[in-house]
Each structure stands twice: as C-alpha cells, then as structure tokens.
Symmetry: C2
Amino acid sequence: MTGSLSIAGLGPGDAALVTPEVSAALACATDVLGYAPYVARVPAREGVRLHPSDNRMELQRAGEALRLAAEGRDVVMVSSGDPGVFAMAAAVFEALESAPQWREVSIRVLPGITAMLAAAARAGAPLGHDFCAINLSDNLKPWPTIEKRLRLAAEADFAIAIYNPRSASRPDGFARALEILKEAGCGARTIIFAHAVTTPKERIEILSLQEARAEMVDMATLVIIGNSATRRVGRWVYAPRRAS
Amino acid sequence: MTGSLSIAGLGPGDAALVTPEVSAALACATDVLGYAPYVARVPAREGVRLHPSDNRMELQRAGEALRLAAEGRDVVMVSSGDPGVFAMAAAVFEALESAPQWREVSIRVLPGITAMLAAAARAGAPLGHDFCAINLSDNLKPWPTIEKRLRLAAEADFAIAIYNPRSASRPDGFARALEILKEAGCGARTIIFAHAVTTPKERIEILSLQEARAEMVDMATLVIIGNSATRRVGRWVYAPRRAS
C-alpha cells in the first residue's frame, strides 16, 4: 500500500495565488487535513474527505496525516501561505522523527506564497534588500529570544517581517517589540501593516514606527518594518537596491 | 491612454509554480520585458512583444517598462522567483522616483515563489523557525555590510538563506562567508545547496557547514544554513518549532 503526504501552501487567501502544483495535489487527494479555516478554502469535490481541526493541534494533526498516508491514502495537509514558514511542514517532520514506523511514507512539500511576499507586493518592494522574518508568538520559544532577535535585526539593518504579531492570549508582545525597535533607533523607519492581505478584507496601512500602536494589529496582520534606507514614492514603499 | 505595468514573479523554474495571477497577466500583456533567460520562460503567443535584455540593465529596463505603460501598453516585467526579493520591483520604484512623468502609471506587483521557499520545500522545513535572507552580491552594497549581517545573523541564531552566493566576477565572497560563519561558531550547522531548484538540472546537497567548499556553489545555487537547533530525519532537514 503506497499512499502519499503532500504538505501544501494555499497562499495568503486569493485563489489566484494558489500554485497549479498545489491545485493538482488537491484535485487527486483522498484526504485533506488542516486548521479548519484553511480546509474551508479547499474547493469542494466528491471523493475527498475533509479533516478540519483546531488550532494548536499541529502535532496530533501531523501524526494523523502520516497515519492516513501509511494506510495508502493520498493526503494533503494544507497551510495558509507557505507550509515551511511558521506552518505545518516542521510539525510533520517532528512527528516523523518520533514515529519510525512512518519513515517510508512518500512526502512532498509544495511551496506557497507566504504572507510577507504578498504584503510586500501590495506595499511595493520593502523586502528588496536583505531582510529577516520573525514569528512573534512565544508559545514555542522564550520571549527573551524574540527580544534578542529584534535587537540584532535592527543592528543588522534588516527589513523585518513580523508574523503573528498579536493574539488575544498574547496582547502585549507587539507593544514591547515596538519599544525595543524604538530603543534601537528605528523610530523613523517605515512600518507596514498588511491586514488580511489578498482577501476581501484587505487593508494596508503605512506609517512611521513611532506612530504605530499595538492595537493596530491582530493575528491577521503581517507587519513589515523597512530598513534604514527604505523610501516612499507616491503610494509605494521600497528598499533601494544600493546600500551604504 | 491608460496602460499598465505588472511586475511579476515567475517562480524558481517549474511552470507548475507560476501563480494563476501571473499567468493571467502574461495572457493579456502586449509587452514582456526582463532578463533574457526569464523572458524565454514566457509562453509564446501572437500579439505579444518580447523585450529580452541583458543582466545588470535593471534601471534602463525599468524605465523602458514605465515608458511603454505610459504610452498605453499593458506591460509585464518578469523576474525569476518573487519580483520583490532581490529582483526587479525595487528597480522599477527607483526608476519611478527619478521620473515624475510616470507617476500616474497603473502598477501592480504580482508575487511569486522565491527561490528560498522552493529550496526549503525540497529539503524539508529548514525555514520553519525565524530566518533571514542575505544577497551575497556586493555589486550594490559594500562587502563589510554583508560580513556584519552574517555575524549578526549567526548571533541571532537565524536560519540564513543566501542568494547569489558566487559568480565569475565575485569568486571569493562565499568562501569568506563560510569562514565568517565558522568563526561565529556555526561549523556544525547544516548547510543546504539547492542547485537550479525545480528545474530539470535540480540537485540538492546537504552537509555540515565545515564540510562545505565555495566551489560547490554558483549563481544558480540557493544556500540555506540551518539554525543551531536544525535536525535531520531520514532525507529531510527541519527547524523544530520549539526553541530554547
């Protein structure tokens, strides 16, 4: 019995950003697993079993996907954005490491448009120069590690993409992140708030970091902080290719 | 006369990774501009004028695209990967800033699968935790800036994606980058060389940074260096979601 597991990225929301590779995998899947709002984005079709699950069930969901694939089913695990960026791919490999009986399952990772690329495209080209991506959730890492990375990212003059800036259970981290960046001399930098990017609720805000307030973001917001050379032209923001 | 300019990402090579949004823009373009090897990837069609150009002609190409759009043509500027990551979008906004007569041109940026996401997917999930992306070309920035960023990225324990690691005109930078990372204590880290990812010439190599040699890479190589917690399971490499 040879099943398969494809770990696929659905992109940020717009169906026009789902790659043909991912659409093809979904078209021949027997089972689709994922966080419920992402499974809800999969086109309905006869013959496919949908397995929506709650948030924070990543390892359990990963194990279930591997088990189904080992039974011979063609499984697609869906993530928003790219599955390899703060999403399900790492959880699947963690589950695989703890369960040698599944090592023979055929696995593929199918990339997707991650939120920072869609957000950057809407704003212009703020990631056109060296940049970093930081997940602000401290569910799985200590908060001091996040603070250290923010300070070093500022010192390196990276543009900074921030994923998961704020949730109901983590109301204070983003305010603290703004403070750290101001202390690091980034107050005059451009900050972009991309809310629900490429969905009907999309809203893009561009301001200076010192004008930003934590209440401006939630879990549907992708934040990009420009580097020190970032410029504006008309409604666009971009990082010049030439740096000092 | 209302033309348009779409700055579009073709992804890393495989046509199955071109988004439907980009395919739709190409299907109604009157003109396609870009570096010749990328223009060669655009499906042939009657009624479209192809304008391939040499490398390092970015600003001139950007100005030409804006001029054609201002004349009323529907122009697509193509980049490999994502147009906002070390590619043409920043050059277009630079050209726009220097040419106020084109400020009314309708511009869109259409994201694409950037090389590091495709490379990460092939290797597993090495970018599943915080990471940075550094362009190793010093054509447009001083080499000491690159060295500083590599040191700070190591100190921050970011996974590191390196674009443009080595070219005929820059034979020595990547060897120096490896030295810096070894000095920073990263010798035991996992390094991934993704050559020509998603093309028929694809080749993925995974080794430790101390085993890596500069001759292993060229301009078609995307390099990913894992963070200190990066693990291997079977043929896969991943960054655990949990960090200390």
